[in-house]
Symmetry: C2
DNA sequence: CATATTGCGTTTTCATCGAGAGCATATAAG
DNA sequence: CTTATATGCTCTCGATGAAAACGCAATATG
């Protein structure tokens, strides 16, 4: 299961992407609307900012903004950022691979099955983006600049 | 990711299914061959027994046996038994469903995507069995009794 | 400067994971 | 019936991580 942290991240990103006008959005507003603990959400948004997904502005009129077009933020990226591996076993992970002891992967039937599961999951999670789950059209501009 | 407990369970089941002759297998033998902490494995096998997957015999010549044909033990069953939900969100779980607060599932894009992921995963995990990952032919007899 | 807002390290609480100890119980062999 | 062999069961323990709160620093606005 996804951690609450990742679930909160998705809810926050959805909320932000669903806004009519792109404008700095307060942490407190998101926390309030989506029932997310304020200080916890603070950490989450900061982490998304450090990963280059969001931008922030301090002081009056500040808040959080998208740094990337939400149509380019893959669900898999967010999940890996916060929860780590998407795979069910370390020995089938693309981004967090570690060998399992006492097991030759070439002859491990479990490895083969979990590879299939990973591929099936990634086929979806690498192709769906924040704007898909927000149910919005891709943005046509970002911070006032037109994007393709 | 699967917990160590589930990973150990799969390794133990694979080892048991790979034996030439079906015979009572000692916990200690499995622990030794697969490098699993003895007392931890004891708990795991007991749990599999209580779920009706394994049988055990005490005393000399005792050990663990399959109660079901390994070809009938689905990976999904073992995973749910030990780790709980396979789904990534509680609101898309078949066996452990709980509603998520502040979210109408009919209009939640995240819900829809995670449903897809669940279905893709279960299509594999509900159809692969212990004998698939053990790489063995299905047993032709169980406890001396012929099975189909 | 006053105020609004994010940045960030620390701490707390709690549950769960992974593991081990010790004793109880059942069974087979002699 | 006794002994050795195995599993059954309960309790405990430490480490880890999840979830969340606290407090203050940094920064931007006007």
């Amino acid at each position: 299961m996804l951690s609450m942290k990742t679930q909160y991240a998705f809810k926050a990103l959805m909320y932000m992407a669903q806004q009519e006008k792109q404008r700095p959005i307060l942490i407190a507003e998101i926390a309030d609307q989506k029932t997310i603990p304020l200080k916890f959400l603070e950490n989450i948004l900061l982490q998304l900012k450090k990963a280059g997904i969001l931008n922030s502005k301090k002081g009056k009129g500040g808040g959080y903004l998208f740094a990337k077009n939400p149509a380019e933020v893959k669900l898999a990226t967010v999940m890996r950022l916060i929860d780590g591996p998407i795979s069910l076993l370390p020995c089938v992970s693309l981004h967090f691979y570690t060998k399992c002891k006492n097991c030759d992967e070439n002859f491990c039937g479990l490895n083969k099955v979990m590879l299939q599961v990973r591929d099936a999951s990634l086929a979806i999670l690498e192709n769906k983006t924040v704007s898909d789950i927000a149910g919005t059209q891709p943005l046509t501009e970002l911070a006032g600049i037109k994007v393709e």
